[in-house]
Amino acid sequence: DQQVKQNSPSLSVQEGRISILNCDYTNSMFDYFLWYKKYPAEGPTFLISISSIKDKNEDGRFTVFLNKSAKHLSLHIVPSQPGDSAVYFCAASYEVFPKLSFGAGTTVTVRA
């Protein structure tokens, strides 16, 4: 049973606009959440993370929001750029358990 879900397999956005990627989880023990970005024929690369004690973390154009009561997080990319076209994976972990649970991924396409 998948504990981390990304229900939108794809997202298309115009260059310069905001991209919003969503992720839901079912396990209330998760206390860290991460986003990874993956280009074709490459391994995933770490993008941004957030602890469950926070509700927002920002790094340049990327912001992650966490709503613990709804078991929901989102990744905002502002402004979207052509190089942001990739697959984005949401992942979650326990602090004392070194394993990540991944969502199925969302493919983002940024249109010129």
Binding site: Q2, V4, Q6, D31, Y32, L34, Y36, A41, E42, G43, P44, T45, F46, S49, S51, F89, A91, S93, E95, V96, P98, K99, L100, F102, G103, A104, G105
Partner: protein
């Protein structure tokens, strides 16, 4: 990440053949992981290692075995490959999380395995 290499990068094999994939790191990270990536499933953990000769199963470990005799190498073996094991395999590394943190994992470039 230049500190993690996987070999081979591509392999085609036949059903019933044993296959070994290698992950090599130069970062001296303690933890190493093997994942498989399949459409609709994201990345799923096969096995992981938390030190030399210390390994444990992940969520999709059936049909796979691992070995870690040195810090830098983590081997994944398919004893008798099946078509359902056609996938892209990723190795990852991390260090034990500090208190109040999590283990950010760093991934290798992947191995595309096709079992005919």
């Amino acid at each position: 990440d230049a500190g993690i290499t996987q070999s081979p990068r591509h392999k085609v094999t036949e059903t019933g053949t044993p296959v070994t994939l290698r992950c090599h790191q130069t970062e001296n990270h303690r933890y190493m992981y093997w994942y498989r990536q399949d459409p609709g499933h994201g990345l799923r953990l096969i096995h992981y290692s938390y030190g030399v000769k210390d390994t444990d199963k992940g969520e999709v470990s059936d049909g796979y075995s691992v070995s870690r005799s040195k810090t830098e190498d983590f081997l994944l073996t398919l004893e008798s490959a099946t078509s359902s094991q056609t996938s892209v395999y990723f190795c990852a590394i991390s260090d034990p999380p500090l208190a109040g943190s999590t283990d950010t994992q760093y991934f290798g470039p992947g191995t595309r395995l096709t079992v005919l």
